[in-house]
Amino acid sequence: MPAETTPHPDAYSDPSMKQGVSSSAKTAFACALVSAIAFFVAYLSQIEAISSGVPWVFNAPWVPRLGVELAFRVDGLSLLFSLLISGIGVLVVIYSYGYFKAHKGHARLQWLLLAFMLAMLGLVSSDNIILLFIFWELTTITSFLLVGFDHENSQARRSALQALLITGGGGLALLVGLVMLGQASDSYLLSEIIASGSAITEHDHYPIILALILIGAFTKSAQFPFHFWLPNAMAAPSPVSAYLHSATMVKAGIYLMMRLQPSLGGTEEWFYTLSIAGGITAVWSSMMALRQTDMKLMLAWTTVMALGTLTLFLASDLRIAAVAAVTFLLVHAFYKCALFLAVGNVDKSTGTRDYHKLGSLIRSMPVTAIAAVLAALSMAGFPPFLGFIGKELKYEGALAIANEPWLIVATAVAANAMMVAIALTFVFRVFISGQSTITREPKEVSVLMWAGPLLLAIAGLATGIFPDLITTFIIQPAVSDILATQSEVKLSLWHGINGPLILSVITVAIGALLFFKLNVVSQTINKLVEKLPVLGDTAYESLLNAVQSLASGLTNRLQTGSLSHYLTIVFAAFVVSVAATLLYHPIAMDFTDLTPITPIIALVVVLMMGASVVVAFSNTRLLSICALGIVGSGVAVLFLVFGAIDVAITQLMVETLFVVLIATVLIKLPRFPGQLHSARARGFRDAVIAIGAGVVMTVITLGVSLAPLDLTVTQFFEENSLTKAYGRNIVNVILVDFRALDTLGEVAVVATAAMAVIALLKVRVHPQGPHS
């Protein structure tokens, strides 16, 4: 995994950048900040109404014929996410201002953050599933641009592309899944789909719908086996990682699963898929986290672990599991964003993120260290932090799940113990104690950069001590929406001595043990990883290579640069496909009612046939072209015989010009008498294709002329040509009036083609090189 072996330090700490922030960056910053604050305040003002069960609703038509409308609906679950997105958005925007300062990409970053925030807010408040999908894709695209922010770095580009391909590919599956869901439940409105309860689980297509939607959710939320893109996405600058890959974007998949749980959940398929994928993700990624030395990558893997845990708990439809999931979501957003930002500060100040090289940062960077320590303690789940409540709830939920309680308990304990070890590493090896080996004397960062992490860390502490702050207004409504029933939620720090508490003690004990033996543990994990045959990232790499070699192989076979080769392929494909269709659906032939062959028709046809033979066997190009002209002119005469005068004139003119043009070119070409005709074998093949094309075309033409004609359109033009368009020549009236838009398009094509031909001819190819 290249992303892990060559960790790329954030390179935005260039001390030479002393000049001020550019005005375009200031504008972008102001826009992003004002929008984020405005949204946050707007959502806060709705909190009371929404938590009492009255959602904020907005509807406007958009594509009415397709049933796509701008339907927004902010209920308890949406509110939880919206507050996180806009609230953390405010902090991240402020942080980024301090982080990027005079960096040349500062303005771009702020605009992208704003675009991403809007897409994310749209996603969590869409009520129409097509609208939801559009926002889903917008978050994919904006996150692609943000991960690849440092676009001069090939690693960043690779990671961005990987994130795009995996989440975008999942998005395609999701689209199909959502459309099928909409068709199966007869509504494209989420609120209606959810209101119809679990009816969809009885539907014949339920397994397919479930699989497709879960592929979308799993790719976005980095669940096994699609988990590997998320740690690679750490090529993004720290604030972006903090925002996208911890607090918001990766939660989109979690949001979708929470949202659809009332419709799709409650089945065995749902339970086992989510619990197995979530369990594997949680345990595997916490092991991966332990082996990292780059703190940012460590955090990235713990994010994957958190997402796995959330998925695990969404598997069950128990109330306590939903409470655990929602609380943990909040816990995680607080501590993870704080830690990412703190690591960004450390990186900026010391130039490294390797915890082996750092130590006792509290002396030089006190505020950042305090924020990081508080957040880490919440991550480890120590009282009195919200993390403790979250962890107790997880254990309570795990014990309550009836199907596989012990498996889930074991998974949760294992993952949490590793979280404890990582948190202890942060606290004792980096921030409070430990030996620093760096030469540079770190300095505390500016208030812009420590305010965010400190505020989030304090939020984790305050809500732990006073859980009532968030219970009624945020957690309870969200849980009610996940379960689609009104639910009472009570959170408290102290539950008495019970199962979860005992599990917590065990967790801390194991975690402490892992921490003290961290070197041994990470070496063991490294050995284990080396023995694995396939990793997600290598599988991705070989798949991508396979696609590329397939594409280049196909291109090399098809794009030979030989015109006769192209024509062979085109006509052979035409003959084979049409002939196969004709054999499958034979056309009934009836030759009794054909137009009689008059002498003039017979004469023209014989002429054309003779000319065709000349085309095929002549020895000079000029003769071939002229003979081909005779064939075309013969067609024109036939048009004339059957009364299509306009078409006949056009055909004749085009044919004449064609011969002139080709002759102009051919006269200048050197003569290659030997190569005009193909070798015997190729000649035979060409003859077969040519005769086949002729036969197929004849059969089709006969079939078409025998089918009864629908004269509605003809009658319309005959009746209206003179009265409405004042013209007796129907062909011309159609061209310039009834279907003038088509003609305009055709004329534009003629113009473009002519321009292209002229431009191509003007390109002079010199012997020295392609351009003059």
Binding site: I645, Y726, R728, A740, A754
Partner: protein
């Protein structure tokens, strides 16, 4: 092509064919003809002249760059479609004036479809002759 006969005839022909092409364009709405066919006939005339006299003379005959002709044609066609928009009709709706109309005869009918057809005519003339000029010049 250095042929005195061809060169003499071509000078006669080009005038006749250009005249005929305008005639075709004009009568197209009621009789066989129209902008497309007219344009092709005009281009054929210009090409005959060009084969006899060479691409430089073709350019002199056209007076404007064929690419400019194409562009002007496209603009005229689009403009004829925009005119009805000013009257709250749909794009490319035909608008007509009848000069000297009486109770029984609608007189001389002039409409935006004719303008549109002129645009088509110019695009075809410019495009086809432009391609031939480029071929003659570059090959």
């Amino acid at each position: 092509m250095n042929s005195l006969i061809f060169s003499t005839i071509s000078r006669l022909l080009v005038g006749l064919m250009l005249l005929f092409s305008v005639f075709l364009l004009w009568r197209g709405h009621n009789e066989p003809g129209g902008g497309f066919i007219g344009g092709l006939v005009a281009a054929a005339g210009i090409i005959v002249y060009g084969l006899a006299e060479g691409p430089l003379m073709m350019r002199k005959l056209l007076r404007v760059n064929p690419r400019t002709l194409v562009l002007i044609g496209l603009l005229i066609a689009v403009a004829s479609g925009i005119l009805p928009l000013l009257q709250d009709s749909a794009f490319l709706t035909g608008l007509w004036v009848f000069i000297g109309a009486t109770e029984t005869d609608k007189g001389l009918a002039l409409g935006t479809p004719l303008i549109f057809d002129v645009g088509v005519y110019l695009v075809v003339v410019g495009g086809v002759s432009g391609m031939v000029i480029a071929l003659e010049e570059e090959l």
